[in-house]
């Protein structure tokens, strides 16, 4: 931890001022607005604002669909994160050799990070669509099974999970590769001299050494799948079939933005914000711990 500090009366305030100003204006104001709205019934154009107490929250938690959606979100985020990371780590371990062209590979792996969600949604629709999509067409040569995700919830979910993993995969792989390559050869050689087999060596030495990278990627993938996938869901499944792919962020967005139920949507935002704060606190506990050792 830092011990040294400069001494200056006004400079630190000047330095944090711009950040504090944008944070107040573009985070706290809107956030308090949401908090306030969540306690009201509010009309979209602002002509009606009726105190509702906790009615919006009551409605939310009484709705089995909301609880189902919470479950869906967590399952979705965990599957995307764990499957995505496990796959990336597995492949990175096998690909971690001294080979030529690593920079080229890294470029080719990282680029999906730059694709706008709006564009990715369009592209996926063209790949997945039951009739004009290329994937069902290819699958039709393999099996007669109808992968109609307009009606089959699990197929729709699988597709969304695939698309989400795709977006993060190259990124995960590139970071794991960099992490693996930063591990000193001597550490692994020492372990192998001790007689540890490759799998033991991996779990006893490599994986712990990779834990900072894993943690970084974990947070990133969790937030991505929890908060940033609504664009994908919006353009591909609209939350359906039924409510099979309706995750929390998508619901909040849909009820507020399309349904114009401002108070109800604000209540959902408040729940989401609470989750964000929890997640942040969690991240700091970990990050701080790691900095101190």
């Amino acid at each position: 931890m830092k011990r040294f500090v400069f001494r200056n009366r006004w400079l630190p305030y000047a330095l944090v001022a711009p950040q504090v100003a944008v944070t107040l204006a573009f985070f706290f104001w809107p956030a308090f607005d949401s908090l306030r709205l969540s306690l009201y019934r509010a009309s979209p154009f602002g002509d009606r604002l009726i105190w509702a107490g906790f009615a919006n929250f009551e409605r939310l938690f009484r709705d089995p669909a909301y609880l189902r959606s919470a479950l869906t979100s967590f399952v979705f985020s965990f599957v995307v994160t764990f499957a995505g990371l496990a796959l990336a780590l597995l492949l990175a371990s096998f690909a971690n050799a001294k080979i030529r062209g690593l920079a080229v590979y890294r470029s080719l792996l990282l680029w999906p990070y730059g694709i706008a969600p709006a564009i990715a949604g369009i592209i996926w629709l063209f790949i997945f669509h039951p009739s004009y999509g290329i994937l069902p067409w290819v699958l039709s040569f393999v099996t007669a099974y109808q992968f109609n995700w307009f009606l089959k919830g699990w197929v729709a979910m699988t597709l969304i999970v695939m698309a989400a993993i795709w977006k993060q995969f190259g990124y995960n792989l590139a970071f794991y590769l960099a992490g693996l390559q930063a591990i000193e050869a001597s550490v692994l050689e020492a372990a192998s001299v001790d007689g540890a087999g490759p799998i033991r060596r991996f779990f006893a030495v490599t994986f712990p050494l990779l834990s900072p990278v894993t943690f970084f990627l974990f947070t990133l993938n969790m937030t991505f799948s929890f908060f940033d996938t609504f664009g994908l869901i919006h353009s591909v499944t609209q939350g359906g079939p039924g409510d099979a792919t309706s995750i929390l962020v998508y619901r909040a967005w849909k009820d507020g933005f399309e349904g114009l139920q401002l108070g109800f949507s604000a209540a959902q935002s408040v729940v989401l914000m609470a989750l964000v704060i929890l997640l942040t606190a969690f991240q700091f506990r970990f990050a701080e711990k790691r900095v101190t050792y």
Binding site: F4, P12, L91, F94, R106, L110, I122
Partner: protein
Amino acid sequence: MARTLAPPTALAIGAPSRVKARDWSGIVAHAILLAAVAVLAFPLYYAFVISTQTLSQVTSLPPRPWPSTALFSNYAEAWQRAHMGRLLLNSAIVALGVAFGKIAISLLSAFAIVYFNFRGKQVVFWMIFVTLMLPVPVRIVSTYQVISVLGWVNTYWGLTVPLMASATGTFLFRQFYQTMPDSLAEAAQLDGAHPMRFLWSILLPLSKANMAALFVILFVYGWNDYLWPLMITNTPEMRTAVIGIESLVPRTSQLPEWNVAMAAAMMVLLPPVGVIVVMQRWFVKGLIETEK
């Protein structure tokens, strides 16, 4: 994790000692990486394919996975119809504005938080970091009100400044500054250097990789944002490129000119992808080295 990147090790799994195995591992590595690259590239390839097809080919079933002949006409059409030139320029201004603005703001605030003690530091610290993640679409109406009070509707200020309100950058710089040995700053103070001098000539050169990584993240973020520019701009001259694509996407019952929309999409995705490719080395390095 070690900050000095060690020379790549032979293997993580597998026997590191035998030469034969090492050869094999190289081939396996190439094979895996090539396969991963191919799987990742397929959607982009297919989008490109669609952007080269004629309307009649796009709407036929079954789909055709091969490029066709309409490449130039589709791209020209997309360019003209959406006035892509102007939109791309706007996107560039916005993306660069967000990237540079946010980097400036966050490296200053991180400097204050790490290198100074001041009254209210704890409050400021938590205020900033609670915004680390925030679902954007849910705060759009109130943000619009702030912008209109400031008189920034339909300006580049309105397009860029709200996107700077999150803590990712501050977080990254703070992590990095904390790994700096105290001796650096102590020496600077002994030399009688002003703290800003220390920031400018010592800290900044050391945080090049972080700045580069952050630049990539923010450029991509600023370039790809859709909802906010759509809300805040009222004239065609202020539109950004992603809106241009959406304006070409056949939405309700109309001509299914997906080929033209895809052509626009291909044009718009090139700059952020280009930035990533050019800066890929710094990108990974800048993020991973602070993650200790």
